[in-house]
């Protein structure tokens, strides 16, 4: 209900901002409620991070930052909504690896342009995926897994939360780089995929670190490696895939805040400063670290933009080589 009121308030006040807008911005910003679009359903890691940031920004500005979940079409609906919103700094998007790096090449057509329609503000977190196997699988390391996949071609299955998720593309990247053929089994969400991994229906999964870790610690799953280039501070003893035989393997789930393209630079800079400050508070760092997240260093809009370009190019290659494209 609170959200509805905030929303009506935002809609009601929207014309006012057009009237007194102009360029003299950063000053007096924000003067009204900010709508923070999360293109995923409530409760997921993106949503949790967004709500935590929203709370910090609300405290800092004394203006409500209202999280608005606009899930659907793999994040495309929410991203499209922000792409077509006024560029006044009062509509934010929690963009993600899916909406800005994977979907643009995965889907034949998407309703927005991930580069031209947005101005990146700040990266919020990067979360590694980890490669976990059902303990019934004899492989104790990435090398042994590759051996196993080579000697028994077409027998191993990897589960993922959806077609085009980082878990799916990590598997495809693994297949290409190691020259093996494991079969992708897509699910509707990571939870049912995890259930089938625990029961051994599928043998492995490249799952979100925070989701997989409890079952690893309980001995129900065996963790083989993290998917990022560097080891994760959450599990420093776990090697990377890159150092275990597939050099250069680097894949991370990330999300960050963006605004519609054309938003005045003063507002973007102001937003960036406030978000970076929020991310640097003690309780926020603790909260994110518990999700296995790595806080980004040197978090400027320019670096975030460059990061997105690199990511988009990387996934374009993976999608093309694996033939995962959706027509």
């Amino acid at each position: 209900m609170k959200r509805l009121i905030g929303l009506t308030l935002a809609l009601f006040l929207a014309p006012a901002s057009v009237l007194c807008g102009g360029n003299a911005v950063a000053q007096g910003y924000p003067s009204k409620a900010i709508r923070f679009v999360v293109p995923y359903p409530p409760g997921g890691s993106v949503d949790i991070a967004a709500r935590a940031v929203a709370q910090k920004l609300t405290e800092a500005w004394g203006q409500p930052v209202v999280v608005d979940n606009r899930a659907g079409a793999g994040g495309n609906i929410g991203a499209d909504l922000v792409a077509k919103s006024p560029a006044d700094g009062y509509t934010l998007l929690m963009g993600a690896v899916a909406t800005h790096a994977i979907n643009p090449t995965l889907y034949a057509k998407i309703p927005y342009d991930p580069v031209k329609d947005f101005t990146p503000v700040a990266l919020v977190v990067q979360v590694p995926n980890i490669l976990v196997v059902n303990p019934a699988i004899p492989a104790k390391s990435v090398k042994e897994l590759i051996e196993l996949a080579r000697s028994n071609p077409g027998t191993l299955n990897f589960g993922s939360g959806s077609t085009g998720s980082t878990g799916h593309l990590a598997g495809e990247l693994f297949n290409t780089m190691a020259g093996v053929k494991m079969v992708h089994i897509p699910y509707k969400g990571a939870a049912p995929a995890m259930a089938d991994l625990l029961s051994g229906q599928v043998q492995l999964m490249f799952d979100n670190l925070a989701n997989a870790l409890p079952n690893v610690r309980a001995g129900r799953l065996r963790a083989l490696a993290v998917t990022t280039l560097a080891r994760s501070p959450a599990v420093p003893e776990l090697p990377t895939i890159a150092e275990s035989g597939l050099p250069g393997f680097d894949l991370t789930t990330w999300f960050g805040i963006m605004v519609p393209a054309g938003t005045p630079p003063g507002i973007v800079a102001g937003l960036n400063a406030e978000i970076v400050r929020a991310l640097d508070t003690k309780d926020m760092r603790e909260r994110l670290e518990k999700m296995g997240a790595v806080p980004p260093a040197n978090n400027t809009p320019e670096r975030f933009a460059a990061f997105i370009r690199v990511e988009a190019a990387k996934y374009a290659k993976v999608v093309k080589e694996s033939g995962a494209k959706v027509e």
Binding site: N69, A71, A73, N157, G189, N211, A218, E327
Partner: protein, 499 residues
Amino acid sequence: MGDLIHNLSIGFGVALSLQNLMYCFIGVLLGTLIGVLPGIGPLATIAMLLPVTFSLSPISALIMLAGIYYGAQYGGSTTSILVNLPGEASSVITCIDGYQMARQGRAGPALAIAALGSFFAGSVATVFIALFAPPLAEVALKFGPAEYFSLMILGLVGATVLAHGSLIKAIAMTLLGLLLGLIGTDVNSGVARFSFGLPELSDGIGFVIVAMGVFGFAEIITNLEQGESREVFVNKITGLMPSWKDLKSSSSAILRGTAIGSMLGILPGGGALLSSFAAYTLEKKIGDPSNFGKGEIRGVAAPESANNAGAQTSFIPLLTLGIPSNPVMALMIGAMMIQGIAPGPQVMTERPEMFWGMIASMWIGNLMLVILNLPLIGMWVKLLTVPYRLLYPSILLFICVGVYSLSNQPFDVMLAALFGLLGYVFVKLECEPAPLILGFILGPLMEENLRRAMLLSRGDATVFFTKPISGVLLGVAIALLLITLAPAVRNTREVAFQE
């Protein structure tokens, strides 16, 4: 046993603290309210309350959120019975006989039996969790794609007995439901099917949208058409509490419903939902089926007990494996992660006060609910005396708000209105909407699991029979089909011989 008593005493110690009692009460009260409001479900409510839980202690937060969830199951039956409006997928079945009871002036007994059945089921299921949570989680893991597919087949075959009219119409409605369920992104290829290029359709149509349309909107149109005839079922009100006869005939139904709900609730992915359908089907098969669909109290008692038992046991995969069995549970995981608790197998051993505290709070919450709900029955029934010209616009408004709150899209509200028109056509054609809903929910799940099972077996279809659980389920489905069809076949043969 000593362990259990020790654990439960820890649990009650936590749950009975003044603070936690208060959050439990807030949770069940909120849950009842949103359950009564059509369309606004626990999902939207819990999502809105997530930020509030930041500042609570983890156990208080979980107790409150859980209270909202099972409280909504109680409240959901109220609108099903009074105005034929299921707020939750699991209360679709309650509409069939519950609303008929209300029309006969027996809304009071229907509501009372729903509350009592839910309380009994909730209490039993809570004990069930306390005793068997870990082994039951292992049972849930035995269900792979092949087993799910066979379970769904069994559910669908059972659905044909839901119809109390023509069998052909029931099958047609089930098929229409299956077709509607096909809309949306194909899980395997990621291609959007039948979405007509509309991004809003790319994830399929939400259950609440269909249910609000074919039940809520359609019911209102039909009522308005009939003018003032509604007055009749208010004037006939005979008593608020069930008679001795009612209690006697529903007690065994409550027992059976509880057993089915407790078992199916542990299956992640549609288990809790199937339970109310399965309980109703069983009741109709056992004993005299003639009164079903015409206000049979067993038709309210069994599914209501089943869905509440299922709601409780669906916490098992969450608490023991960290696997959410439905979107509400996924939100609970979110709430736990906010608090820095990683939901998984260790929760039970590392944070026993939380695990057992929550279980104890569920029992307390169920008690609060029954105390809260029984006195409210008189008030709800009085609601029926409100003139319809005032009642129906408010119902419409609540439906619209509820549907909008699902994903903040006006498109959804328009879609619900469209389904309302479709529902009106169904009423005119005398087609029951319940089989449609079942087909709509089971269809996509069946397809998903069929294709997944085939992917895993590399295209070998015999897995459905060679896997023991799957084989047994399919066997039962075939037997049930033969029993249902046999009389029909015999009749046609007799007709043929006469000619």
